[in-house]
């Protein structure tokens, strides 16, 4: 009964979305306030319907209702409850349902927080949002019904793909979807603005927090996925340039560019058409990513079954959504008026450089991802583009971007002084050179290129610390007063600084985890010791263990320092899941602040030895610290903006006024 209720709610949502996409559009054109107000109510209703649908599917999974085909294919009665729930979105149909739930959720949020939006813009934005919903709901209902029943119902399900049975991956898709789908708001705002023919500073101020929210979740989602790949796939890598990874990375790059260009629109009322284009492209890339992952057009190791027929439907969606918005752009963008002028060396100039580099980086990733498709279509062989291509093209674009990140925020708006900005960096630069020389001697033999990465990361860190120091004015006003000022600095400043600091940690972590890694593959008998960089690793034996829905071979390893002291113990596993018999690896990882030691157990040899893959990865934990800083930077910045976005009504609020006076 509940699955039918869910199915019914889904159909209802489709109808609500249809009216939400048409009536307010008509109302905005005719200036009919009742028709425009309909948008908000419809957005809430649509969200409620989809929540009901999602809840009923979740109920079917949690109670292991094997009369629902989707539950049979992706769940198992022995599965822990967490994975019964995460199995809801661990498959094509359910993840698509989650997608539309989040889409509608964002619509409802716009209605909820958008009280101060001009009614025309708000209703058009919600209408565009609903058009996307109509497309995806049709897709869901016509090709991928998550509530399809089975008769007779089997006794047992086929279990969720065990690779997905992992706490990191349980929350990876929802985060990622919030990111992807959050970009739809920026898209809807852009399309609505094109219809209105008006883009101004106010528009940018409304778009920025949504972009920031989407960006923060997208960052968190990508980080979770990367973290999962790191400890679950057992190859010691954190990024594989796999098409599916790239599909999430491309929107991230463009969203990052959008985040920065929207600042220019907000502060200087210029760069409008470019920002609109970025907003359209960011969401378009999310859609293209969805298409690539689910259509089977590119081969990738992924949990979703590839189905070319579904691909045709998504392609149709792409053509309507992307083609439609770009046509509108081609028609309307030239009529948007440009704003303030500025010199090339200025804050605007720096942000444009940031945008150019980010979009170029995105273009190289795009080409690398789709190159196999291009070659195949033109009649060539099946090829794959691997890490060497991306390292050779992506990295050279990122290095100037990182340098721009250091200098850019020091430049003034309109007309900046590059030499003055550089002068502020003298001390940081000096310290960087000295430390890099010292570190350089240590790691020269391992990898000379790594020195560049580490130096840039160090310069960025010192620069961030220097910025905080200067803004606090410790030198002028003393330590205590400086500390007080520090706390009262605008959260937007803190957000930016933390996010940029996060990038620095990320760069250092990536350098360490790739260029400075020690790797060893050995067959060890129990009791044998092997050397790995400056540790000794001892194999203490292996035994079989039983988990809730798997059996595993568990190895026991110890890391021993040169003095014979045990530093760490590892218990890597190879699991075999009873549902489908698939195998997964669980790496044994010991993290300190500075490095990771990483142990994976492999096959048993004839002589009773076990193959082990051992890695020592300096700075690898900084990858996650850096990502965490970036995400928190995003949220801190968002908390600042929320004060100002809800502005007009709250101006009377005493606390806000006090804050303003203080900050002034």
């Amino acid at each position: 009964m509940t699955p039918e209720l869910g199915h019914y709610a889904l159909i209802l949502a489709l109808f609500v979305a249809f009216f939400q996409s048409t009536i307010p559009m008509w109302g905005a054109a005719r200036n009919n306030i009742y028709a425009m107000n309909f948008a908000g109510h419809a957005a809430m209703a649509q969200f409620l319907c989809l929540l009901v649908a999602f809840a009923s599917l979740t109920q079917a999974f949690v109670t292991s209702d094997f009369s629902v085909a989707n539950v049979v294919a992706n769940s198992h009665s022995l599965q822990p409850v967490l994975y019964k729930v995460s199995a809801v979105w661990g498959n094509h149909e359910g993840s698509l349902l989650l997608w539309v739930v989040i889409l509608a959720g964002f619509g409802a949020l716009v209605h909820f927080f958008g009280g101060n939006l001009p009614p025309n813009l708000k209703s058009r934005t919600l209408a565009v949002q609903a058009m996307i919903a109509v497309g995806f709901l049709l897709f869901l209902l016509l090709t991928s019904n998550p509530f399809a029943r089975l008769d007779p119902a089997p006794f047992e399900g086929r279990s969720l793909n065990p690779l997905l049975q992992d706490p990191g991956l349980a929350f990876h898709p929802p985060m990622l979807y919030i990111g992807y789908v959050g970009l739809s708001i920026a898209y809807s705002f852009a399309v609505a603005a094109l219809i209105e023919g008006k883009v101004d500073a106010a528009w940018a101020r409304w778009v920025r927090p949504w972009t920031l929210l989407a960006w923060s979740f997208l960052t968190a989602g990508i980080m979770l996925g990367s973290w999962w790949a790191y400890y679950e796939l057992g190859w010691g890598g954190f990024w594989y340039w796999d098409p599916v990874e790239n599909a999430s990375f491309m929107p991230w790059l463009v969203a990052t560019a959008l985040l920065h260009s929207a600042i220019v629109v907000e502060k200087r009322d210029t760069l409008k058409t470019w920002t609109i284009l970025l907003a359209i492209i960011a969401f378009s890339l999310s859609l293209i990513g969805t298409f690539l992952v689910r259509s089977g057009i590119l081969t990738s190791v992924h949990a979703f079954a590839n189905d070319p027929e579904r691909g045709v439907f998504i392609l149709l969606l792409l053509v309507v959504a992307i083609g439609g918005s770009l046509t509108l752009y081609a028609w309307r963008a030239p009529q948007l008026k440009g704003g303030g002028l500025f010199r090339p060396i200025s804050r605007e100039g720096g942000l444009i450089l940031n945008n150019l580099l980010l979009t170029s980086a995105c273009a190289t990733v795009f080409l690398g991802t789709l190159y196999p498709l291009f070659v195949e279509v033109l009649g060539g062989d099946r090829v794959s583009v691997g890490a060497p291509y991306f390292n050779a093209t992506f990295v050279p674009l990122i290095i100037p971007l990182l340098l721009a990140l250091v200098v850019g925020p020091k430049l003034a708006w309109k007309r900046g002084d590059i030499w003055a900005a550089m002068a502020g960096l003298r001390l940081a630069f000096f310290i960087t050179v000295i430390i890099s020389l010292g570190v350089g001697i240590l790691i020269w033999q391992k990898s000379a290129v790594a020195i560049i990465g580490l130096s840039i990361a160090l310069l960025m860190m010192l620069n961030s610390v220097g910025d905080i120091y200067t803004r606090a004015g410790f030198r002028k006003s003393g330590f205590i007063k400086g500390l007080k000022r520090l706390i009262r600095l605008p959260r937007a400043f803190w957000g930016m600084t933390l996010a940029h600091l996060g990038v620095a940690f990320l760069v250092a972590g990536a350098t360490g985890a790739t260029l400075l890694t020690y790797e060893k593959i050995v067959a060890l008998k129990p009791g044998q010791v092997t050397q790995l960089s400056y540790f000794n690793i001892r194999f203490d034996g292996a035994n079989d263990v039983t988990g809730p829905n798997y059996t595993a071979l568990r190895g026991h390893y110890s890391a021993i320092s040169n003095d014979g002291e045990i530093i760490a113990k590892f218990t890597p596993e190879r699991r075999r899941y009873v549902g489908g018999g698939q195998e997964t690896t669980e790496a044994g990882i010991k993290s300190t602040f500075w490095d990771d030691i990483y142990v994976v157990i492999g096959d048993r040899g004839e002589d009773g030895s076990y193959v082990a893959r051992l890695y020592h990865k300096p700075l690898a934990p900084w990858l996650w610290w850096g990502s965490f800083l970036m995400v928190s930077g995003g949220f801190i910045s968002l908390s600042d903006r929320s004060l100002r976005v809800g502005a007009p009504k709250r101006i009377g609020d005493n606390a806000v006024i006090k804050n303003k006076i203080r900050n002034a």
Binding site: V72, L150, P152, P154, F155, E156, R158, T273, L277, I280, I281, S284, F291, S295, G296, I297, T299, V301, N306, P308, E309, G311, V312, L315, L318, V319, I322, G323, L326, T327, Y329, A330, W331, A333, P334, L370, L373, F374, E376, V377, R576, V578, G580, G581, Q582
Partner: protein
């Protein structure tokens, strides 16, 4: 103003070009049919195993049986709904005399299998019951049903994951069987 208009059209033009590639790619994907990564077991000899039957009167299944003649090995289970869907097709295949059909009942009990085969008919020449799922793991089975073809030399030459369809049988399996018969 004119150059601005040109720039504004550029993204659309690029997207149209991209769509053409996507269409061609999809078309290719559809024509090539199954683009799953091929099973690691194809072109490898049959793994060693020896499974009991569901009752003493029916032939059991072991590696040694899968030689001398082209063989089909079909992983199935009484609890598996798609297996029931492909059952008539397996029955049809069993009428051919250039191939022997072997069933491995995956994660199932002899009692259930006996009941199931009794009810729906038994197209198999031999049946092994892999109650512990151990043998399925050696074969690289990721779900039921799955169907393998083994040549006269005991080497796996083909794998189909998921229920058989009439088009798979006509376009892939029968040509393969005829090729083997020559």
């Amino acid at each position: 103003m004119r150059s601005l208009r040109l720039y504004a059209i550029l993204p659309l033009v690029l997207f149209i070009g991209l769509t053409a590639y996507f269409l061609a790619g999809l078309w290719g994907a559809q024509n090539k049919g199954n683009r799953f990564i091929p099973s690691a077991m194809v072109n490898k000899p049959v793994p060693d195993f020896n499974l009991p039957s569901f009752n003493q009167n029916f032939p059991a299944l072991a590696t040694a049986d899968l030689k001398g003649k082209t063989q089909i090995v079909n992983f199935f289970a009484s609890w598996c709904v798609p297996c029931l869907a492909e059952h008539p097709l397996i029955t049809k295949l069993s009428k051919r005399d250039d191939v022997e059909i072997n069933g491995i009942a995956y994660s199932d009990t002899g009692k259930n299998i006996a009941k199931w085969l009794n009810k729906h008919g038994n197209p198999y020449d031999r049946v092994g019951v892999d109650a512990g799922r151990r043998i399925g793991i050696d074969w690289g089975v990721t779900g039921v049903p799955e169907t393998y073809i083994i040549n006269k030399g005991g080497v796996i030459i083909y794998k189909h994951g998921g229920p058989l369809r009439i088009d798979v049988i006509n376009d892939e399996i029968i040509p393969l069987l005829e090729e083997q018969a020559e």
